[in-house]
């Protein structure tokens, strides 16, 4: 028994030291350390493609953006991080504010691909994919011509019909920030209060659960992200498929500013040991081949306009996007949370 314990210990220590014993400068140039909040299989595939193309090994640390940012702050100048990838603009803005990012090179190329609201003003972060926060409704109970905008959801006719998740969720916070930016604080607070008044149940579950709740008749209208609906329509779970089949998709605010969009984006770490490779990765992720992978495997909207949407997204048709600069979502995030709490949106 003791021998087995000893052997196992030795084994683990050896596994642990395997890569650490290799040092130092030559290997850094051939490595890229990615701190990312994205856990998708599409990303794994893309990093493998990048490795093949450039010979640069990609090391990934997966965690929540907030924790990664905190880690980068504590690591300071010696941080091994080369790039930071998040699933919302607010967190990238926060990293920028904390001085954790540096400008991207070849800005002309980026300007030629991306529309200006998807890039930080100082080029410290850029968008990789887009998601729209839309309404889904019960096809059998709601006439979509009655729907119009986020703001109209507080009308008395929707009392007891709305489904949405907790205000801890970053997508809801960004939506709220966009309403604060577009309509002002007072209207935004009243909007949140009206939403709470019209809720069908207390906020709980994730985006998919809201869709399922519509299918089960707990409520009639829900706020969800496009790519979850896409994933549900392609799910191998019968319950999810049926639920997604029962709901219609509605892009709000088409007659005014457009539907709220959020992004998944990337920035280069201020103290990146290998900024060359980091820039290479960004340009690689923006090119058509990589954008196709994002679009097809994850039902996200590609930021590169020459890449087509996936079939499901095409079927929903084109829509007008809110062109609000995404920096504002970051700046107003805290305000949004405070207003949520004051309005009693759990």
């Amino acid at each position: 028994m003791k021998n087995i314990v000893f052997l196992l210990l030795v084994f683990t220590v050896l596994v642990g030291c395997k890569n650490d014993s290799k040092s130092s400068d030559e290997t850094t140039l051939n490595q890229l350390n990615v701190y990312t909040h994205r856990h998708y299989d599409s990303d794994k595939q893309l990093f493998e493609m990048f490795e093949k193309e450039t010979g640069i090994k990609v090391n990934v640390i997966n965690s929540k953006a907030d924790e990664l940012i905190q880690k980068m702050v504590l690591e300071g100048e010696q941080s091994p991080a080369d790039v930071l990838i998040t699933v919302d603009a607010g967190r990238l803005h926060m990293a920028k504010e904390k001085g954790l990012l540096q400008p991207v090179k070849n800005t002309a190329v980026i300007d030629s691909i991306l529309s200006p609201n998807l890039v930080d003003k100082d080029y410290e972060w850029i968008a990789l994919t887009k998601r729209a926060r839309i309404l889904v409704y019960a096809k059998d109970r709601i006439d979509p011509t009655e729907l119009s905008s986020y703001e109209d959801l507080v009308l008395p006719k929707w009392e007891g019909k709305l489904l949405f998740r907790s205000s801890s969720n970053i997508y809801n916070q960004s939506l709220m920030a966009s309403i604060v930016a577009n309509d002002g604080e007072d209207i935004a607070k009243k909007w949140a209060q009206g939403m709470v008044k019209n809720q069908a149940r207390k906020p709980k579950g994730n985006d998919r659960d809201q869709v399922k709740a519509i299918a089960a008749g707990e409520g009639d209208i829900a706020i969800v992200n496009t790519y979850y609906v896409g994933k549900m329509l392609n799910s191998n779970d019968r319950v999810e498929l049926e639920a997604a089949d029962k709901v219609g998709v509605f892009f709000p605010n088409q007659k005014d500013r457009g539907t709220h969009i959020n992004i998944s984006g990337i920035g280069i770490a201020k103290h990146s040991p290998n900024p060359e490779a980091a820039n290479q990765l960004i340009h690689f992720l923006l090119n058509e081949e990589a954008q196709k992978v994002f679009a097809l495997s994850n039902y996200e909207y590609p930021v590169n306009p020459s890449v087509e949407n996936s079939e499901i997204l095409k079927a929903w048709g084109d829509f007008k996007e809110d062109s609000l600069h995404l920096n504002l979502l970051g700046e107003l995030n805290k305000k949004a949370v405070i207003l949520f709490d004051e309005a009693g949106w759990k």
């Binding site: 314990v5 196992l8 210990l9 084994f11 683990t12 220590v13 596994v15 642990g16 030291c17 395997k18 890569n19 650490d20 040092s23 130092s24 350390n33 856990h39 090391n59 990934v60 640390i61 997966n62 965690s63 929540k64 924790e67 905190q70 880690k71 504590l74 690591e75 300071g76 010696q78 091994p80 926060m94 998740r165 907790s166 801890s168 207390k202 906020p203 709980k204 579950g205 994730n206 985006d207 998919r208 659960d209 399922k212 299918a215 089960a216 979850y228 994933k231 799910s235 191998n236 779970d237 019968r238 319950v239 049926e242 995030n333 805290k334 949370v337 405070i338 709490d341 004051e342 759990k346």
Partner: protein
């Protein structure tokens, strides 16, 4: 003893200090050193209490705190009830009675612990959802589209309770297995019924062991985040994350953690104070264990089997059925050979982490015993507090001191890059800090049973502390050590925030894999790595359970 104690209380500070200097020995130094090593991250966080909260504190206390406190309190009370009933009852029945399937149920009762709380939450929500397995089971009876709503405080308490009761089961059983039976036999001979003997005699005697388990349950419940967030129940920990992430104020988050920490600390002290006059040692005749079990007639035995199967059904079989159903659907997408490699890595990390954690718990426990200064002994309780704080906050507490050390090493030219962070050293250190309580509680409660007169006589006869320990206390502690090891091993296997933040690039675990899917709302895809976690946990549980019974 009592008299001596009460007269000492009147002595002045001056005398206390003189006595402190007299009693000072090398163990005092070692205790303080180990304590510092373990408690630095916790102390780092604790001192933030004096910095005060950030400006959003007013906002939180005005709009949110009442709700957080109410929910956390509900949760703590309901979970205590569930875990106490399930844990103590099943531990007593499997050690005291003989019934069919007993040997399997004995170790199956530990397994619910291996299912991560948030996975358990997803599994139960799915099981009772529309079109879920439960509604399918009901459909032959003409009930269509049934849904039992799990997503509230009661559902959350149930889910957490049923996954955490093994903490109480394990420590209570370790106690019952080595419990002096002669008292119970005497009570039975004098005509007291089995039930009455249990409540009047065995239950009070087992109190340190049960409380040890309960403390772990409460700490875990208070810092749960994943399950509570999914069920939409706002607890104290929700507040910690809200102020850290959403309100962008780490200082308020740390302030809240420190508050939570103080509450737990007060609870521990209160419990110790309340039982300080009670002695929990085995009778002079030494150790007797349960070597035979009561055999009822067949129908009664089957009733026992059913009763003890209930926690296994709820905590293991139902969630596993749900996970298996999901894994069948996602098998082709998720399953690949990497999973075996991941299992191996998870096993290795959990094994090494558990070894170090148990080792440090032992060192802390015995060094503080051998040191004679009472206040240092009490201070050693600080070592267990890492378990009460959310893992993500512990990670901060770990990174602050270790990163400054790393940076100094680079400045001094001793290293060219971080040698603690980003390697297994930081990760294992973090596990020791976080899970010390899990190892310490069962060890402490089983060390309380060792009658101090045995090691004392050994020392009077000229044996040193170490020799006495290895010859006398170590064999008596084996059951406690094995329990401690199993618990820590399983805990590390499913641990998340620390592993995510501190792990080296080339190391990956099953828990990280499962979380990757779950965090993107691909709960079904997370089922396969979750099942692998359970399988990996089974091996040591079965092996160690055999050892436990042999040594019991």
């Amino acid at each position: 003893m009592k008299q001596a104690g009460s007269s000492q209380e009147n002595f002045s500070w001056k005398y206390r200090i003189q006595r402190g200097i007299r009693d000072f020995n090398k163990w005092t130094v070692f205790t303080v050193l180990i304590l510092l090593f373990i408690a630095v991250p916790v102390i780092t966080i604790f001192f933030k209490l004096f910095d005060g909260p950030g400006e959003s504190w007013e906002h939180i206390s005005k709009y949110l705190l009442a709700d957080y406190l109410k929910n956390s309190l509900y949760l703590a009370i309901l979970c205590s009830l569930i875990t106490l009933i399930a844990g103590v009852f099943s531990a007593w029945v499997v050690t005291r009675f003989e019934f069919p399937m007993r040997t399997y149920l004995e170790w199956l009762l530990i397994i619910p612990l291996a299912i991560p709380g948030y996975i358990m939450a997803y599994a139960y929500a799915g099981f009772f959802d529309y079109g879920g397995i439960f509604s399918w089971l009901l459909s032959p009876f003409g009930i269509e589209n049934f849904k039992l709503d799990m997503m509230n405080v009661i559902g959350l308490s149930f889910v957490l309770g049923i996954s955490l009761f093994p903490y109480i089961y394990v420590s209570a059983r370790a106690f019952f297995l080595t419990q002096a039976l002669n008292l119970l036999e005497a009570s039975r001979l004098l005509g007291v019924s089995e039930t009455k003997s249990f409540f009047k005699l065995v239950f009070p005697l087992a109190r340190p062991a049960i409380v040890a388990g309960l403390v772990l349950v409460l700490m875990e419940v208070l810092n749960d985040y994943g399950a509570a967030e999914y069920y939409g129940v706002n607890t104290f920990t929700t507040g910690i994350f809200r102020s850290w992430f959403s309100l962008e104020e780490p200082e308020t988050a740390i302030y809240l953690s420190a508050l939570l920490l103080s509450i737990v600390f007060v609870l521990i002290i209160l419990e110790k104070y309340q039982r300080r006059k009670l002695q929990y040692t085995s009778p002079k005749s030494g150790r007797t264990s349960i070597d035979y079990r009561i055999q009822f007639n067949r129908p009664k035995q089957l009733v026992l089997t059913l009763l003890v199967s209930l926690p296994v059904l709820l905590g293991f079989i139902i969630p596993v059925i749900q996970l298996v159903q999901w894994s069948v659907r996602t098998f082709s997408e998720v399953f690949n050979q990497d999973l075996l490699w991941l299992s191996l890595q998870s096993f290795g990390i959990a094994f090494a982490g558990a070894c170090f954690t148990v080792l440090f718990a032992l060192l802390l426990l015995y060094f503080s015993k051998w040191n004679k200064i009472y206040s240092v002994q009490s201070a050693s309780k600080l070592g267990v507090l890492g378990y009460a704080i959310p893992g993500a906050v512990v990670a901060i507490g770990i990174m602050i001191p270790t990163l400054s050390l790393d940076k100094n090493f680079i400045d001094w030219g001793w290293a060219s890059k971080f040698i603690i962070n980003g390697t297994l050293i930081a990760l294992v250190y973090a596990y020791v800090v976080r899970f010390l309580a899990v190892a310490y509680q069962p060890l402490e409660s089983s060390s309380l049973k060792v009658n101090s007169s045995i090691p004392d006589s050994s020392k009077i006869l000229g044996m040193g502390n170490f020799k006495t320990f290895f010859k006398i206390e170590f064999p008596l502690l084996k059951a406690g050590m094995l329990s401690a090891f199993i618990l820590v091993f399983i805990d590390i296997l499913k641990e998340l925030p620390l592993t995510l933040i501190l792990k080296p690039y080339h190391i990956n675990t099953l828990a990280v894999n499962a979380y990757g899917y779950a965090s993107d709302e691909m709960v079904m895809h997370a089922s396969i790595p979750s099942l692998f976690i359970i399988l990996t946990a089974l091996i040591p549980v079965i092996v160690l359970n055999k050892l436990l019974l042999k040594n019991g």
